[in-house]
């Protein structure tokens, strides 16, 4: 047996976080540590919306990090999250993605659990009578209450549900912090949500690249022609970038410009199409909603697992489910509000054409993330440059900066470099 050598630490040029080593995206040992330290300890991960499990007995199968979990609404109305691994032989017993049940029964040996994960029954626990004697059975000290499913800690705020394997995690509100919680509550203000549907895509890139994509206001006006041409997101839009005190969560807040005209931010930008007119302008039939306040778009990242999208009338949660260092599943849940008119629902659905795995705007995010990962793989000794706007990590009142990415890696380094 050879010794297990500690993985060599990453080298950070300039000793800051403006140059991220490619190894941070490709190394399996670091990825395993990320799962332990971000997804399974000390953090809240998104699991779904209460509107997905409205009735007692409803469940939804989802994931925290790489671990399969089930969000349930128990018969007493409480929300629960349990791990999808049978206590007996480890069977990942729940195969349906959603449904309504009275309890869960593992198909292998019929161990059954209530919706809170309590073990209810074990076949032949007291043995089987045969020829006047009792054969088999579980040992007398076997206790049902000690052999339930792993139960996660649950936090629900205004219809959004989070879970943590870490029973000692801070409260959800402390975890998000007051500054970003305000942007969370802006979308989720307690109104009942209605589910419009799902989109799922597997993106062959490291999961952090999607967090970075939504902390990067540099690219939308350049990569996304629709955004800059129609003023939805341009470098000269009024904007603010904010992060929590740790640098892990962030909000990009933008107000749509009125002019579609060419200026210095579009001059020379290959993707700006001055003469572009839609054949059907209903794609951008934007109606201001009172709850927005002034901003027309706020993109919020909750580290490590969630993006909350409000881009004009289209709202969604985007759930990051990592699958090894080189891929993640990205699950979009589009929703509306209970007081939406039929016309508003139609509008939200029309604007959803901009987003998702085929969206006029979002499809190319997945494409460039895939290509970044390819580059990282082939040149593992190299690093990115995230120095637009300088090398510091502070909030900003404009979007010509990569400060939020630097902020996230400040947090990442503190957690990942800490001695266990």
């Amino acid at each position: 047996m050879s010794d297990v050598h500690a993985a060599p630490p990453l080298t950070w040029e300039l000793d800051g976080t403006s140059r991220v080593p490619f190894g941070a995206y490709t190394r399996d040992d670091l990825y395993r540590l990320e799962l332990e330290r971000f997804f399974y300890k000390g953090h809240w991960c998104y699991v779904g919306l209460e509107a997905e499990v409205p009735a007692p007995g409803d469940f939804k199968r989802t994931a925290v990090g790489e671990r399969s979990v089930i969000l349930t609404r128990a018969l007493d109305g409480s929300l629960n999250v349990v791990e999808n691994v049978c206590a007996h032989r480890g069977v990942s017993f729940c195969r349906e993605r959603h449904g309504n049940v009275k309890d869960f029964t593992c198909p292998y040996h019929q161990w059954s659990y209530d919706l809170k994960g309590n073990l209810q029954g074990v076949p032949f626990r007291r043995g089987v009578k045969q020829d006047g004697r009792v054969c088999g059975g579980m040992p007398s000290d076997f206790k049902l209450e000690e052999n339930g499913l792993t139960r996660l800690k649950v936090a629900a705020r205004n219809g959004v549900v989070f879970a943590s394997f870490d029973q000692d995690v801070a409260s959800f509100e402390d975890y998000v912090g007051a500054k970003i919680l305000g942007y969370f509550d802006r979308v989720f203000d307690g109104r009942r949500l209605t589910i419009l549907g799902y989109n799922r895509q597997r993106i062959p890139g490291n999961w952090k690249l999607m967090q970075e994509n939504i902390k990067d206001p540099y690219h939308p006006g350049l990569l996304h022609t629709w955004f800059n041409t129609f003023g939805l997101w341009r470098a000269d839009n009024r904007a603010e970038l904010k992060m929590d005190e740790h640098g892990r969560h962030a909000a990009m807040i933008s107000t749509r410009g009125h002019a579609k005209k060419a200026t210095e931010v579009t001059a020379g930008v290959a993707s700006f199409k001055q003469g572009m007119q839609l054949h059907d302008p209903r794609f951008l039939d934007v109606v201001h909603e009172p709850w927005w306040g002034e901003p027309t778009a706020v993109m919020t990242t909750l580290f490590p697992s969630l993006i909350i999208q409000q881009q004009v009338n289209s709202v969604s949660t985007r759930h990051i489910q990592p699958k090894g260092p080189d891929a993640f599943d990205f699950v979009w849940t589009h929703f509306g509000f209970e007081d939406d008119t039929e016309e508003m629902t139609r509008r939200r659905l029309r604007q959803s054409n901009l987003f998702g795995p085929a969206g006029f705007v979002s499809a190319d995010d997945g494409e460039v993330i895939e290509l970044s990962q390819e580059g990282f793989r082939q040149k593992p000794f190299y690093r990115t440059i995230a120095e637009l706007g300088g090398r510091d990590r502070s909030d900003s009142d404009h979007m010509v900066t990569e400060t939020l990415i630097r902020g996230m890696y400040g947090y990442w380094r503190r957690v990942m470099e800490a001695q266990p």
């Binding site: 799902y198 799922r200 054949h279 795995p357």
Partner: protein
């Protein structure tokens, strides 16, 4: 339910549609539809659970033309070939104005210098209208089993 000549026209419509979207002849794609058409690409999950969201949801020929412009000019993507294999249509109803039909499809994707993979598999659910210019899609709903999309879908299915 339908005379052979009409069935033959339906086969022709399906074959021409596949040929157009497999040969990157994007300008032809909207012309398979009537003006007030519907084209939707929807995961089977949403379809079966009654959720209205579709991955793409277009409500006019104009929207299809906007998609063509996006494919050509605005949507950055890694270029790929696609190849449709479409089953024989199953005609559900037909009258003097419309035909309702379904067909299974499989689309393979081949990125340049890469192996061919199964990209999107599902079922077309179509309403076809008889027009003076021949059969046109009034609506084409692509309900796909391949709910986990391999990164992105750029070209029409």
């Amino acid at each position: 339910m339908m005379d052979f000549d009409t069935f033959n026209q339906l086969l022709h419509l399906y074959a021409e549609y596949s040929a157009a979207v497999d040969s990157s002849d994007w300008d032809k794609w909207p012309e398979f539809f009537v003006d007030d058409c519907s084209y939707r690409l929807q995961p089977r999950e949403n379809h079966e659970r009654g959720f209205p969201l579709a991955t793409l949801s277009f409500e006019s020929k104009g929207m299809l033309k906007d998609r063509v412009f996006a494919i050509r000019e605005t949507l950055f993507h890694d270029k790929y070939y696609q190849r449709h294999v479409v089953g024989v249509p199953r005609v559900l109803a037909a009258d003097g104005e419309r035909i309702r039909a379904e067909a299974n499809y499989a689309v393979f994707r081949t990125k340049l210098s890469e192996l061919t993979t199964v990209f999107n598999v599902g079922r077309y659910i179509d309403t076809v209208r008889r027009t003076s210019a021949g059969l046109k899609f009034e609506s084409r709903l692509c309900v796909y089993d391949s709910e986990m999309i391999p990164n992105s879908i750029i070209y029409p299915i």
